[in-house]
């Protein structure tokens, strides 16, 4: 099993959708939310994901396809 700690940033149009529910149900990914801030016009969630590596990759690709920004919890680590 592989684990990843990620920060998801949701575009406003996805705030009302049960995105993380689908990540669990459709991809069989274990999610463990540690911190989050979701309001009517923005949302971010910091969580740990656990699944087989290829499952994680498929789940992340699906998230990106929905316009969710997926970053390491460190955010941008490439520094000028």
């Amino acid at each position: 099993m592989a684990r990843m700690r990620v920060r998801l940033t949701f575009p406003p149009e996805r705030i009302q959708e049960p995105v993380i529910y689908h990540l669990v149900k459709d991809f069989d990914i274990v999610t463990n939310i540690r911190r989050a801030d979701v309001t009517a016009d923005h949302g971010w969630v910091i969580l740990e994901l656990e699944a087989k590596e290829e499952t994680l990759e498929r789940g992340i690709a699906w998230l990106k396809g929905k316009g969710v920004k997926v970053d390491p919890i460190e955010r941008d680590v490439i520094v000028p």
Binding site: D71, R75, I78
Partner: protein, 419 residues
């Protein structure tokens, strides 16, 4: 130098406050918040004085007791203590009574303020027993990590996006690190570096060593205060990329007030960013603590971080101090660089152009009153990235090697200047 025993309490989560012993970790295991070095200020009070600091070396290490280093200094003995220049010419052009330029374009050894953070990070990495340091960088950070690793006789790995221009690579390659060019999108390179940091027991300076690394930025603030005769200026204008520098300068000012080195932390911190990559200033202008990541599109490459790790804390530093922020367009950035060069003889990189341009705007809009003291932060040298000026500067006159040709050319130039 007197050693203060037990000055470090360890690390503390910036979000939930949970404490951790001093070790190479950067994330709280419970809330995944960032960790920060925690000091025992009661133990430091009265021990650190203006006199004890003045007795130290002319480098960042005169503030060693306020840095997370417990052993000997390993590298970068000459980093910092850069000039704080009382500006006459630029002050006149901008119409401000008291203007100071903190000039890290001449910071040793790699000509940017990154030498402050990296010398602390590499010293701490040695203290932890690492034999390899690493970073992901497209510029100043890469230069500095490679140079300090060479001095420390440590192995170094520098990760870069594969499409980075050759000109930017040479100033890193000269120190002979292992340079890893990664093919892929910016996000893919970013994620890989985070994963490498998880897997390998390396000191990744801006990932697992980040709590220690970022403390080095405090020295920029200490120096401003000390060089002003232990006085907090009215305003400091700071260029923002990851948001750490402005956060740590503000921390330095508050620490100095806590320790009685200055009267009170009465400085307004102002954030300077480019229009094409300004998520922190956007937070300040919209008065929101939510950072919206952006895709950078600016000539200010040295500030091009679209999803800054310390964005929220930078915003807080601005708000808590009563400061503000401004964006600069690419044209204004170049004008800022040229203005600083023309008036003060300082060639800064684009980040410095942003700072000058933003200072000008803040003065024009009355955010910074013209009769108050202002410090502008110049954080890098222009000689590394002169390409941004190639299209904008030209030779004034070309002549044959004869005195008469020169006489005619000079007369023409004078006449052009008059018209």
């Amino acid at each position: 130098m007197k050693i203060v025993m037990g000055k470090l309490k360890g690390l503390k989560c910036r979000e939930c406050g949970r404490r951790y012993p001093s070790s190479p970790v950067h994330i709280c295991e419970f809330c995944f918040g960032p960790l920060e070095v925690d000091y025992d200020y009661d133990a430091l009070k009265g021990t650190i004085t203006r006199q004890s600091i003045a007795a130290g070396p002319p480098s960042i290490w005169r503030y060693k007791e306020l840095l997370p280093i417990e052993g000997d200094v390993a590298v970068g003995h000459h980093v910092g203590f850069t000039p704080l220049i009382r500006s006459q010419n630029l002050a006149e052009e901008l119409g401000v009574r008291e203007l100071w330029i903190k000039n890290d374009s001449v910071c040793h050894p790699t000509w940017s303020f990154k030498d402050r953070v990296v010398s602390v990070a590499v010293t701490k990495a040695k203290e932890f027993g690492f034999d390899t340091v690493a970073c992901a960088s497209t510029g100043n950070l890469a230069n500095s990590v490679a140079a300090h690793a060479a001095e420390a006789r440590m192995k170094s790995y520098i990760f870069i996006p594969a499409d980075l221009e050759q000109g930017k690579i040479v100033a890193t390659l000269v120190y002979q690190p292992t340079l890893v060019a990664v093919e892929g999108t910016y996000d893919e390179v970013n994620r890989l570096c985070s994963e490498v940091s998880d897997k390998y027991r390396w000191a990744f300076v801006n990932i697992n060593i980040r709590p220690y690394y970022s403390e080095g930025s405090k020295t920029y603030g200490y120096e401003i205060l000390e060089q002003l005769g232990w006085r907090a200026p009215g305003h400091i204008v700071v260029p923002c990329a990851g948001g750490s520098l402005i956060t740590k300068i503000w921390k330095a000012i508050r620490e100095c007030a806590t320790l009685g080195l200055i009267d009170r932390p009465a400085t307004k911190m102002h954030a300077a960013q480019a229009v094409g990559c300004g998520p922190i200033v956007t937070m300040v202008k919209n008065d929101t603590d939510i950072l919206t990541p952006v895709r950078p599109n600016t000539i200010a490459k040295s500030l091009a971080i679209g999803n800054p790790a310390d964005g929220y804390y930078a915003y807080r530093s601005v708000k808590d101090s009563g400061g503000y922020g401004e964006h600069a367009t690419d044209e204004e950035i170049v004008e800022g660089m040229l203005l600083l060069a023309r008036t003060e003889g300082i060639f800064t990189e684009t980040a410095g152009g942003v700072t000058v341009a933003v200072t000008k705007k803040l003065l024009e809009r009355g955010v910074i009153p013209r009769d108050e003291s202002v410090v502008i932060c110049i954080t890098g040298n222009g000689l590394k990235t002169p390409d941004v000026l190639y299209e904008r500067l030209e030779t004034h006159v070309t002549i044959r090697p004869s005195l008469s040709a020169f006489d005619r050319a000079l007369a023409d130039l004078k006449s052009q200047a008059r018209s």
